[in-house]
Assembly symmetry: D2
Homo-oligomer: 342 residues x 4
């Protein structure tokens, strides 16, 4: 009974069937019929013109966008616990040719206008200091917290005032929209987000994420940069139609939202059992809870697998539990009972 | 009836079933059971210790290896028509941080010891000149020609004498081994190749190639570099088991060789029909032939799709026809007849 | 009466005469007689084999060394207020091809073994996290504080335990040795420092700094990397003899030490006058003091020029005063009196 | 009697005196009075608005400009014997983050519209091919040949038609203008050159070259990029006034032109003596001549030092002789006699 991560969960049956339906000759790279439908599918979803490209991983999605937005001598404001800072093996430095991540603070890995200002206002504009060119936020955050449309809009206002691009790392974007219950555009394009890494791998896909560009970011030169860098990074798969098929299948009938709701519901069930143990309110599919080593061992002895986490000060230990689109209800219920019984 | 390229052909049924067999929870990235079998599977195939990693594309496979072997201030000897020089959108420059491709000559995109010497012997060892650190050859070449074990060994001798790594871009490695009828090690590890980009995408796979390292290249530091750069390039897919599954399925029972033989046979059928029109002997699955614009139009009018090619001097035009593991025998026969009838 | 920085002070007369003595034909780049003396001159100074190369700036010196020590996917531990982090316009990211600066804490921009451990101990060794490969410390620090030989040795012990290189940014190395009164090797090579950026520009030179490599860092491959990267960065000046001449002149008769003592003495005079206003003990040639806007204006009205500084919490303002090898004693005395009279 | 290269010649007395006149306190970096005069001095010289920045070396000048003009995934058309291709240790790859040098042909290292077309016309615009973004020509060329204003204009027409920037590597720009006898703008800005690396080091300077930007290249964003990259590359010297002083001294009273004429005249004297031995017409300060090993030895026995050169096919050997602004007339006359006497 694995609660390690949603990032290695099985692939949704409808994704499988869409991939198999694509198993006939078509043009290579993104010249096939499915890849050509990407722009329209995302434009329909977001209710406005959008340009969308597939890539295999969230790391590539994040970094290709940031590299197109930020010169090598520039900087990207992100939270000091952002995935791009802590968990991508230095990928932003590779893709951007050494641009700096300018680290900002904020509870539960959420930036705020104030924390962004605190990070960038002291930066003199001279050549000795790296200047910010973009802000990147994670939705839902690395601690499973979710930016409301108003919160994104407030950060976007800072971005616009300082002429910065705003990127959203949406590895768990579906979980966020499922929680918010809003239109997907309300918390992205309409809130001032220029580019979204729309995650599908953690939400029923196999190996396909979408880079989605809105408004000014659809500027020909920027899109052309992303396309050329995708090739240059070896991410332009020749059988791209299988990636497009995954994404289109998950968009079809809002399967992405359906899957995310299922994962969120499972996490909520665990959260309810965890009560005071929770380190953060549970809004998406991640549950962080205080757990002593003995308690963790007890759960593991019952067959539950999960990652230990850095314990907050004054607590004996902590753990991270992650549900997924296909979390087994029996397993979830059993884990909830086991937690409650600790 | 498409003869554009093998790179967008359908996926072999046994690959599909292997992927689906992998559709159950396992560890993420390359911590799953299948990914863990890669080293052993390739060691078995090559009859010696090998280290193998999956990536989604041949461009990534080539460039990750070369970047681990060559410092940013170094150079890589390759043919001036090598795929890494002409068709990867500058990927080697990206991955190696600007190392230089040192271009060498040779008939049909094949390097020879003499052409390598001609390229590197004039390079003074001082800091003003970029020094070679590796040689990269393509097997089969960009014109469908194949290096014999003796030819690879001869180039390897130059590499060893000059302390250069030897890399083989094996996007169509299967076609080469199928043609040679030799043991796969005879034309790689045993011939002095340090690293092989073993292509599966063009040979029945969906989106998985293998980086295979032999001998000294399995040195811990080099393998560690490749692993870390794979992550840093966003190529460490979290559901890596689906990539390992593809590769292992194609190794199983030498399916890779079976598929390559089928593609080669189809190309041979076209070659026989083309006769004097051939620009290069046909050894793999690519057929380059002289074709006037009118003749090309005539074939297209019969429903055959293919790429035009740069015409050699003194000829009215040229075309490239590529077969694949699943080329329809009826289509091949029809095209052969149509060519013969021109 | 300028107290902005030592970095734009005049050039020492003996440096001028050495440059002019070099004004005759010799080999280009570093093939001239003076450049060839660098290794011996620094070996003599440090009492052990040293390899030394000139470059025009401290930024280049720091970054060339770090780039030779750290792979693009690696990291460098430094203080969050280190010059390489805050004031080099992202140069480390450029030279290292995107390696990460891993920021550590410490009073007055000084690292400690504990602060280094705090920064690196939580880093899992997996490929998702950037691994440290070097530690860089600044001597004297960005706040004019000085590491004792024992303090450097303690950090070096952490470096050795974790197999990290230890680099010292010695833009104001002379001021540190002048303060410590120790042998220059005691706080560098003998304390475990692998590479020193030995600053001369702030200490009577015009445009020449030395990269000095000790012990294992003199390993042929590393030195070769630095040499090739120096050329590749456009820092191998063809008339290098004029840079070597500057450095050798400053080493001759310990002129570098003489100059540093003069600068330190001037700063000490200001420090004595500043009393409780001091934000940090004054050990080198930089004086940081609390100063209200009105007081700063009063000093400026008397003809003293200096930079404002970020005020510590609870203070009305702050300023930085920097002396130099040739600070005018009358100006120093006048400023001391003016500060005392505030 | 050294005829190795002009790149290590002595420094002109007026350059020395200008540097010494700058030896008083001023602002650091390029905030000093002399650096601030650069734009105006070059605007005056070229008779139109120009933006000018100093750097220490021609390699840095060339590469900073090219990096500002060309994205990492782009390409730069240059001659296959261009200095940026053969002699800068891979610096363009470093500065541009891996952009490709697209090699073109041409007699005596001179590009022509036809050779540029031959290099770029076959490049499909798709993402698999690196697209050209700039053309770089060397004036005078690596073989001492000179582009006329009409020849530059013709190349510029190709650049404009294809929307490429045009850069001139003017390491020996003075020699070219001295030969042409034209206004310096006639062969640069007025002929469509966007950026010039104006060389002074080979022409009486010590360690200062100018990046000069014209017209659209003075666009704020491009200049800002160059400025930031100059810092990021460690080329923003804190005592920049000594570099500005060199350049301004060489512009004063057209000293640069005077020096170049002297060097050209010395080369012409050697050329007249060489007669049929010449491999290229002598237009600047470089003389390439056929010389058998025995003849070379004979000259060296008489005290003349020079570099051997790659012999053209069918000749027994070759040499390169380079004069300079201060070539000793007696040495030149003696060498001319010795050559004539061979």
């Amino acid at each position: 009974m694995k609660f390690f991560s949603d990032n290695a969960a099985s692939v949704h049956p409808l994704v499988w069937s869409a991939m198999q339906a694509a198993d006939q000759p078509d043009n290579g790279y993104d010249g096939d019929a499915l890849s050509q439908q990407m722009d329209m599918a995302f434009s329909d979803l977001f209710g406005q013109p959008a340009t969308a490209l597939w890539v295999a991983t969230g790391t590539a999605a994040n970094c290709l966008v940031l590299a197109a937005m930020v010169p090598p001598f520039g900087g990207i404001v992100c939270h000091r616990e952002a995935h791009i800072e802590t968990d991508e093996g230095g990928a932003p430095g590779f893709y951007t040719h050494g641009a700096k991540l300018i680290l900002a603070e904020g509870d539960a890995a959420k930036l705020t206008p104030a924390s962004v200002h605190a990070a960038i206002d002291p930066i003199r504009p001279d050549v000795h200091r790296v200047q910010p060119h973009a802000i990147s936020i994670t939705q839902s955050t690395e601690y499973g917290r979710i930016y409301t449309p108003a919160e994104v809009t407030a950060i976007s206002a800072v971005a616009q005032q300082r002429d910065l691009w705003l990127h959203m790392d949406g590895a768990r974007f579906g979980n966020a929209v499922a929680h918010l219950g809003c239109h997907p555009a309300a918390v992205t394009a309409d809130a001032g987000v220029d580019a979204l890494s729309f995650g599908f791998v953690k939400n029923g896909g196999m190996g396909a994420e979408a880079i989605v560009l809105f408004g000014e970011a659809r500027d020909t030169a920027l899109v052309d940069s992303v396309r050329r860098m995708r090739k240059r990074a070896g991410h332009l798969q020749s059988k791209g139609r299988y990636l497009a098929a995954q994404i289109l299948a998950l968009l079809e009938g809002d399967l992405w939202l359906h899957n995310a709701r299922a994962a969120n519901a499972a996490a909520a069930e665990l959260a309810a059992a965890a009560g005071d143990r929770l380190m953060h309110p549970v809004e998406a599919d991640e549950v962080f809870l205080v757990l002593s080593p003995a308690e963790a061992a007890a759960l593991r002895a019952q067959g539950f697998d999960f990652y230990d986490w850095n314990a907050p000060a004054g607590t004996p230990g902590a753990a991270r539990l992650v549900t997924a689109w296909n979390s087994n209800p029996d397993h979830v219920a059993a884990l909830a009972r086991a937690i409650a019984a600790l």
